[in-house]
């Protein structure tokens, strides 16, 4: 173990469901306990907390639990903590933690993402949506035109691929079909039934070219990743996974002024941080809040050329569990649920430890990629068991 490195030493996840009764703080505690048990650490050894995007009072279902809440609830004595949405997307919280442990600010950091977007809709009294008479900030440039959902914003990027590169719906479908096939092998996944091409092609359109099955759906869950300093890894009993490289970017955090998507900056930047190359990668866990984002990550990370993503995944064999580049082996957000970024890091570590069960990829995987975002914000992690 190198003392100057950061490692993922524990992972945990609550049940994943829709409109769960369990309080979101308790879902978070479930994930914390699982991660601690796996790592062999006690809560007393945790001295840092990092989360995305912190507690969001005006959209409590989106983020009901802040770092403050967890620190107080579990009696954590933290020497460093952070939580906020102004970061290069969800996995930016893990980048922050890795940076902190490398700097000696903390030894073991709990990173978490808790979502309760489905549960909140069932309990509007407890989780009210704050409505204003008028919109301001960045929303004023899209909401007045009823471009309300991220589906509308991502769809416009996807339409460029359709028109410029000839991306077809049959090609794009392979993201969702692969997600759903893999989710069927993941006992925790929200959706366990595979999706057929016929079902995909006949699904109702949301925002062209995206249909219902190109979108993830509101879920309730918590995912925890423990990040530890290199000189603290000997306190851990499970196999540590090194954060071999990390990169992130934002150009303009608006969906309509940026010239292009942030993933196309972050992908090449990741490779500048490491001697590993795309051909060393055993599995990719790529953000798929919308299927098209995952397709662009494949291009941005150099697994195929820009504009070639549709052809790269055509037929689906290449990105299947037994393909040359197993993709979203837990089902992604489209199959496993909208874990919002952290699920990708959780699964990358699961695969590198050989603990995937029915969905474990063959061979002896040593290198994996996890990403989050991809639109105006992007983060990529290269994880290695080396």
């Amino acid at each position: 173990m190198s003392v100057n490195e950061a490692y993922i030493t524990g992972i945990g996840q609550s049940q994943i469901g829709v409109k769960l009764d369990r309080h979101p703080l308790l879902l978070t505690v479930d994930a914390v306990k699982e991660a601690l048990a796996e790592s062999g650490l006690t809560i007393g050894q945790i001295d840092g907390v990092s989360t995305y995007p912190g507690r969001v009072p005006q959209m409590l279902g989106f983020s009901p639990v802040g770092a403050d809440d967890l620190i107080d609830a579990l009696g954590i004595k933290a020497k460093w903590y952070a939580g906020g949405g102004e970061i290069t997307s969800q996995l930016g919280a893990i980048v922050a933690a890795a940076t902190a442990v490398k700097a000696g600010l903390a030894r073991h950091v709990i990173c978490f993402r808790t979502v309760y977007e489905a549960g909140a809709t069932a309990k509007p009294d407890e989780y009210p949506m704050t409505r204003r008479d008028r919109v301001d900030g960045g929303s004023q440039w899209t909401a007045p035109f009823n471009a309300i959902s991220a589906a509308n914003w991502v769809a416009q990027y996807a339409m460029r691929h359709v028109k410029k590169y000839g991306l077809t719906r049959e090609q794009l479908a392979q993201i969702s079909l692969t997600d759903r096939a893999h989710a069927a092998l993941n006992p925790r996944a929200l959706v366990r039934e595979p999706l057929t091409m016929d079902e995909y092609m006949s699904a109702r359109l949301v925002s062209t070219p995206l249909c219902l099955f190109d979108c993830d759906r509101y879920s309730d869950a918590s995912t925890v990743i423990i990040v530890s300093a290199g000189d603290a890894v000997d306190e851990v009993k499970c196999t540590p996974v090194r954060i071999a490289a990390m990169a992130g970017s934002v150009d303009r955090h608006s969906w309509d002024q940026a010239e292009w998507m942030a993933s196309y900056q972050t992908g090449p930047d990741l490779w500048k941080q490491t001697d590993y190359t795309p051909k060393d990668v055993d599995t990719v866990q790529l953000y798929d809040g919308f299927s098209f984002l995952a397709l662009t990550w494949l291009e941005a990370l150099g697994f195929c050329g820009i504009g070639e993503g549709g052809q790269f995944i055509e037929g689906g064999k290449r990105i299947a569990l037994d393909g040359e580049l197993p993709f979203n082996t837990f089902g992604g957000q489209i199959g496993a649920g909208r874990l919002h970024g952290f699920g990708f890091a959780h699964e990358a570590v699961t695969q590198l430890r050989g603990l995937g069960g029915d969905r474990q990829i063959k061979g002896d995987p040593k290198v994996a990629i996890a990403t989050s975002g991809g639109g105006p914000l992007a983060t990529a992690l290269l994880l290695a068991r080396d």
Binding site: R132, D133, R134, V135, D136, G138, S139, Q140, W141, T142, A143, P144, F145, N146, A147, I148, S149, A151, N152, A155, Q156, Y157, A158, M159, R160, K163, K164, R204, L205, V206, S207, T208, P209, L210, S254, W255, D256, Q257, E259
Partner: protein, 132 residues
């Protein structure tokens, strides 16, 4: 169609009310002579504070688009076209907008469009329609 309206302030008022005089107004730097959007009290190209809204021709080109089919509100009439329009005369400035008064299936990237303001309360929304 029902729309969420922007809260007007000293910085964005020129953009959202220019339609009262039939003008599409984009923030412009009087020092480096470049346009930028959204409006702010400082130029993102040269950091000058010598900035003000300036009328452009009101024409543009569809950079990309989507047909929205999802009823995000029960009263929403679908489908409708959401587009990102590149504003003529203001390089690098894009507006999210709707393309109106045409068959939604007939909108494409590269279409030439011109502004058509829709007034709601004190706001003049810059929508666009195709130029034949």
């Amino acid at each position: 169609m029902s729309r969420a309206l922007p809260r007007l302030d000293s910085i964005n008022r020129d953009f959202w009310t220019g339609g009262a005089e039939g003008e599409l107004r984009i923030h412009h730097c009087n020092d480096c002579n470049q346009f930028f959007h959204p409006p702010r009290p400082v130029c993102r190209h040269c950091l000058s504070e010598n900035v003000a809204a300036k009328a452009v021709t009101g024409t543009g080109v569809v950079d990309t688009f989507t047909l929205n089919y999802q009823k995000w509100h029960p009263k929403m009439e679908v489908p409708f076209v959401i587009a990102r329009v590149e504003v003529d005369g203001a390089p690098g400035v894009y507006l999210t907008t709707n393309i109106i008064n045409c068959d939604p299936q007939q909108v494409d990237i590269g279409d030439k469009v011109k502004v058509s303001f829709e007034q709601q309360d004190d706001v003049y929304l810059p929508l666009f329609e195709k130029i034949d």
